[in-house]
Symmetry: C2
Subunit: 212 residues, 2 copies
Amino acid sequence: MSLNNTDRRIRRTKQMIRDALTELMEDVGFDAITVRDLTEKADINRGTFYLHYKDKFDLLEQCEREVLDELAQVQGHVEGLQLENFYEHFNRGEPLPFIVKLFEYLKENGAFMRVILGPKGDPLFQVKLKEMLAEHLLKHMVKKARIEMAVPFDYFKAYVISAHLGVIQEWLFSGMKESPKEIAMTAFKLTFLGPRRAAGLISDEQNEKTSP
Amino acid sequence: MSLNNTDRRIRRTKQMIRDALTELMEDVGFDAITVRDLTEKADINRGTFYLHYKDKFDLLEQCEREVLDELAQVQGHVEGLQLENFYEHFNRGEPLPFIVKLFEYLKENGAFMRVILGPKGDPLFQVKLKEMLAEHLLKHMVKKARIEMAVPFDYFKAYVISAHLGVIQEWLFSGMKESPKEIAMTAFKLTFLGPRRAAGLISDEQNEKTSP
DNA sequence: TTCATTATTGAACAGACTGTTGATTAGTTG
DNA sequence: CAACTAATCAACAGTCTGTTCAATAATGAA
């Protein structure tokens, strides 16, 4: 069976290539990378690359898939930790466990995540990550029936999910100073209270008229 | 002077190339495009391409810069239309004029904007667009002094700006069904009321406790 | 219209990268 | 140790790049 990943040589080679990919993407961006660059930086024969990957796009795709799979697994580990609803979590001052786990994972894989979600990254990965976020976030938020004068649901969804991605990016690129729990709580407040209340631009009591 | 863009041949050639770029990006993505592809689709000599652009990246950059410059000009045309503040606009049921103009411009250049902001697009352009959005959006929102237990400003900023980009993308990719004014109002509501209130997931009166 | 200017063309060039092959060497598992 | 198989090295044709040159065509100004 050649499908087994048990051979130390294979693991080593793949790791070298992936590390090289991360480094090179940081430096010059994915576009400018050649298979030659990758194998030179990884210090392996160029032919060896093609033993494992079809081309550089295949390499990127495999790396991305791995990240997404691992993120999906994370979700499995927090099923038990969820309270009944969104609201209850907030009132205890606790962020959603899933989001905390998400930020913990991002921190572990900081180097790759920074590159792939950065200005030289892959917009397709952003789309995939947003799909995953949507799946796990929205089920906590949409328990109650909807009322009057509502914004279309798809735009609510796009708004919230994109906003969360924005927080993730800001966190990654500003050096991940806050703990996963803190930053998860920040994201939570922004959505739960709305950005203006969360940022303290209006107080809780001082209700602006919302008539029209 | 060869810097003049008055020569009809130059204008024609550049336009052919740019159209080819948009079409090809839609089909195969920027990565997979060669200068050969571009010039064949544009039906011009390959050497001619290099008379105007350094390489395909230079082409993309020039196209992006042009869009951003035009968007910046749009801002100039609405200076007079702004009310004193954010709050007043909302209470009249009117979105910010700048955002309306933004969506109008996006609609005019729909084809290119869809590609560049899509899964095969350019993440660097997203960053630049967000910078522009930040500049024009935030000055309307941050009039009042900030209060207690606030989320860090940078995260508020990242949240709101990213969220707006999300609405833009959702609108572009779902066929731009709403009018620029409608969709601008949708984005406005989501930020002004907060996403949950805007989507009707909680009512205005029914204030959830926000104690912790 | 004429004329000087200049954008475009077509062909050719070396250089680089790709993806594949075959024979050989080296490392791994049991 | 022995069988297996991953990694290496060299070489291949094919494609794309970026540049150059002389020849041609289109343009704007007088």
